[in-house]
Symmetry: none
């Protein structure tokens, strides 16, 4: 078997509504790319056994590999197993090992397995079962002549490890040596168009280099990512070309580049705090816990995060943070003096090395001519005391996302400076 | 012509990479829904004329309407016009009006039209041209027997007005007044399989009712949604049938149902607090601000959220919340007495009516035999004092999501009880 081309079929009626979309295919596209397998098309189909059967048969007329995601749950809606059985003409039977592991999964939590979960032990003839360490639905690997059919559950945290540990090695065995290699540059504090303007000439040159490098720019509130990719059978050469490209772009875009090794902003900040032996606390008003929530997304963050005060009400700013009432009256809650007092207050009251204060107007209401929606003040106390007033675009959710990124970046820039 | 079913094909190789996805189909799914047209599947295909031709032909074997988006630009890559021409066997010719308007578009900006844009004036025989006020690529409306094919450019700001002003009126004329109507039931505190076991008999009955109602179940950590949908020309009858179905399911699943009107859990809790004139504060350890972040996602939440203390370090629990050190020593930080002391401490120190305390082990480290990863204790003080110890599955992120939902639901259930 030599697998060169693939299609993906995502199953679930919710992905045909205006509210949900298939994101597993993005992960799978990246992995197939790296394996040198071309993804030629993808589809989304509802919980419709007959249509899924038809689409699977049609895909098998075109490509070497079909990956089906979703529709493996225990309910009436879940029709993927049945459709695969129909399309390949392979009857199903109950797999004793799968059944035993399902029963054990429930027993470990002190439950008796509901009767409808038994359906998940049905396996088409000749299928290899792929273990699912994070959920009840096992996956399937089927071979049909020179073609393969892979079936995986829909939840990304179940699908992703199953692909990496069980499917990928099987596919590697069938591909012949070319690999996509990738690097990511992460940037904060700049808009997409600003990054593009600085980087454009560089990536036009990279596309024409002896090892051509493709560049894609991706923007979310508070973060721009440049994705670089190149393909070759000579992994060392392509890695060297990518390293050179990362170096050129990171130099041009410094000091806004915070990561070239995949780490998130909260991980970079966490590593800096840990290395310096510093502990942080935050006083949050408009972000109301989201900055602390992000700082503590990193496992082990109890080593550098003390805690904080969410001072949504001005009385909390006064009583818990010691912000002088006169300061609030004179400057208003969204002001540089109040942000500084919040940062100092939380640092001293929680005995942290660094205190951060965030206050702003997330909207949709509360804006004025001089203090519009999107205005946010961020202060840092203890180490490298500073304060910045920023104006972010977008709705309430975006303003809060931009604010947490800007606060994390203030800490990063203070600590990376030699 | 009577259009009841549709498929969408999005064209563009960039949507087969890990970085971009098709979002036009979300907009189109909403519009088709409102028109009473069922979207049964959607596909993404690269800039591949032969494959697009095949997919279009196969879609036309299944549905009344096929919408193709993208691939209408002036470059070699853009193959949609050619594929439609091939699939329908309709040769193309240059449309003088389209050519004139393309030339005018460039002239208005002081440019001469590049030669490759001339390609955009090619139109398959019998196609109606759809004007594009925001770009150079015109759209197409084609009829083939009782079926329709719609072709629109990829950029959302071009596609959306073209659909609303030119395509939608043509579709309305074919749908004879049928409309899809939807309701959503939101549930927390139950697993998907538990909801399904209770609800299955009801939705099997609903599917066989005089106005058949389709049901889809969707699960995220801490929230299960049941989506109900039905189609009819008689909007009043279908709304009544849906209201009856919602009533039956909500009764069977009470008290775990928190919303049948679209509101999120934080909105439901916010409304209850506002109606009762109660203000809330939270002391968070493992969730570290995410509960307060969620409570304050609701605009106007400063009316009912005072603020809180993120007590990541035990010293913060002692000094800022007044948790007795002896309690921490005797029971450990993750224990019912400590959660209760946190809830009481934050309530009294921040002068709130209700205090919530959350402490737990989010993982991946820190678990023990008696206090495993995923164990979370939530306490409520002030109104309806209570405390619960829970065990959540999944990784750090999921445990924190489950915990915020459980804490919000503890407040909801205390306040809805008559």
């Amino acid at each position: 078997m030599r697998i060169r081309s693939a299609e993906i079929i995502a199953v679930g009626s919710e992905m045909l509504t205006p509210h949900r979309t298939d994101t597993n295919s993005l992960f799978l596209a990246g992995r197939l790319n790296e394996l040198g397998i071309e993804l030629s098309a993808k589809a989304v189909v509802g919980d419709d056994q007959r249509l899924l059967t038809t689409l699977l048969r049609q895909s098998l007329e075109r490509v070497d590999l079909v990956i089906i995601t979703g529709g493996l749950g225990p309910t009436e809606d879940d029709v993927t197993r049945e459709a695969v059985s129909d399309a390949l003409g392979r009857p199903m039977s109950e797999d004793a090992d799968v059944l035993a592991s399902l029963e054990k999964r429930f027993a470990d939590r002190g439950y008796v397995m509901p009767a409808n979960n038994r359906k998940q032990a049905q396996v088409p003839r000749g299928a290899v079962v792929i273990a699912n360490p994070n959920g009840s639905a096992p996956g399937l690997w089927l071979e049909e002549g020179s073609q393969a059919i892979v079936v995986l559950p829909g939840p990304p945290r179940e699908l992703q490890p199953m692909f990496d540990y069980s499917v990928s090695p099987r596919l590697v065995a069938t591909t012949a040596g070319t690999r996509w290699r990738r690097r990511v540059i992460k940037i904060t504090g700049r808009a997409e168009s600003q990054v593009d303007e600085v980087a454009r000439d560089i990536y036009l040159a990279l596309m024409k280099a002896p090892t051509p490098i493709q560049t894609t720019i991706l923007a979310t509130p508070g973060q721009i990512e440049l994705h670089l990719a190149a393909v070759s059978a000579d992994v060392a050469a392509v890695d060297a070309a990518l390293a050179d490209a990362v170096g050129r772009l990171a130099t041009a875009l410094a000091p806004f580049v915070f990561s070239v090794d995949g780490r998130n902003l909260e991980e970079v900040v966490g590593d800096l705090l840990r290395e310096r032996g510093l502990r942080i606390a935050a006083a949050e008003s408009c972000t109301a816990g989201l900055l602390l929530g992000r700082l503590t997304e990193v496992p082990g963050s109890s080593g550098w995060v003390v805690g904080g005060i969410v001072a949504y009400d001005d009385a909390v700013k006064i009583e818990q943070l010691g912000v002088p009432p006169g300061l609030l009256e004179a400057h208003g809650a969204v002001s540089e003096p109040v942000a500084v007092a919040m940062a100092e207050g939380v640092r001293s009251r929680l005995s942290a090395d660094i205190g951060i204060g965030v206050t702003g107007i997330a909207g949709p209401d509360g804006g004025t001519e001089t203090k519009p929606v999107g205005m946010v003040v961020i202060a840092m106390a203890g180490v490298s005391p500073s304060v910045r007033t920023l104006k972010f675009p977008g709705d309430r959710r975006m303003v809060r996302q931009f604010s947490t990124a800007a606060a994390l970046d203030m800490v990063r820039r203070a600590l990376v400076t030699p």
